[in-house]
Symmetry: none
């Protein structure tokens, strides 16, 4: 879960930004001015701050300076109106990671947020191959091989396999699987998992028993079962 703090005095703009970021799966919080932002940050964490420069009480520049003085390293994207004291705004001096000139397209906003987050939150890429006897799962190429031959899995099947395989030996309830493999805001039926397990087992051929039904609980991946 990636949380973004939106700091702007105009609720309309805040709403607009929130809408587009939430659409991309970010969790948003809002502050109406610099003071509010600072007090929010005292007791809350944020992965990213989007802040307008022109705000009452405490403007964005002052706020950003204060944030950095407090040794909060959260990346900040500043919003500036075209022609607005452009000079001081974009400067490196203030320690912002990027800036966006208003008016901006939602697409640009989202893209910049992603680029900055990519730069600041390098995720450990799990490019490891998982090997279970003749079953090889490669997350980089998004493929699974059985005894050297590629097996065609649908995206959900692959995700499900990767989830279970990377938590081998642990039994998960259908509900938990839905939460983890599907989005956390997916409100589907438990039977959905069953269906995908069936399909996956079908594709796994001789290795179908790697996915173990735990009665009254759910499913687990158990490498010991080969043979």
């Amino acid at each position: 879960m990636i949380s973004v703090l939106i700091v702007d005095d105009e609720p309309l703009i805040r709403g607009l930004i929130r809408e587009h970021l939430e659409h991309e799966g970010y969790v948003c919080n809002e502050a109406g001015d610099g003071t509010a932002a600072l007090s929010y940050l005292e007791s809350n964490r944020a992965d990213m701050i989007i802040m307008d420069i022109m705000m009452p009480f405490m403007d964005g520049m002052t706020c950003l300076r204060e944030i950095r003085r407090r040794k909060i390293e959260t990346p900040v994207i500043m919003l500036t109106a075209r022609g607005e004291e452009y000079d001081r705004i974009a400067g490196l001096e203030n320690g912002s990671d990027d800036y966006i000139v208003k008016p901006f397209s939602p697409r640009e906003l989202v893209a910049r947020v992603k680029v900055v987050l990519n730069r600041t939150m390098p995720k450990e890429e799990n490019n490891e191959k998982m090997v279970f006897g003749g079953l090889v799962i490669d997350t980089a190429s998004h493929t699974a091989h059985i005894d050297g031959k590629e097996v065609a899995l649908t995206p959900k099947e692959f995700d499900l396999l990767v989830f279970l395989a990377s938590n081998r030996g642990i039994a998960f309830s259908r509900e938990k699987i839905l939460q983890k493999v599907w989005n956390y805001d997916f409100f589907g039926e438990d039977r959905t998992v069953d269906t995908h397990v069936k399909m996956l087992r079908g594709h796994l051929g001789d290795y179908r028993d790697l996915i173990f039904t735990v009665w009254g609980v759910g499913y687990k991946f158990e490498p010991g079962q080969i043979g």
Copy 2:
């Protein structure tokens, strides 16, 4: 390892530039004024110099002139404050490779450094020929041949092919491809990638299946697929 010399009298600015360049994998050194820069260059090599114009003791212009007089060919990006129009022009005529008007965004800085380095440092990896059966991609001459016959690719098609081919086996999302193959500042549609993939496949003829659609994910280049 690419080394950058940062010349500015303000330690804060130096630090911020350093931070962003180091994040991109460059190795940074600092000098507080022109004199220090020159004495550094006497005994050290640099692949790139970023220098402020306004500095005590020896200003950036004088320093740049002296650097070139000493036959040091290292590319130089000058930093100029807004309004120093004269200096900008003079700087370019005096042998600087680019200039950035302060204040600037980190994004702009990094992008310009990359552009200048690309222009001035021919990379070894770029002189490689990639061979996949009858498909030969030559990044040096910017050409692709199929079974000995040159195929006409548009610039974007070629870039896309090179990117995918040099990361063979790895599945990329359209978004990732846009970020990598298109500019830093391109905020286009995912469909754009699809269209270019289609065109590229069309041009690849019998080798069209080298570019593999990974359902629900994106595309990958898979050399194993040649019939």
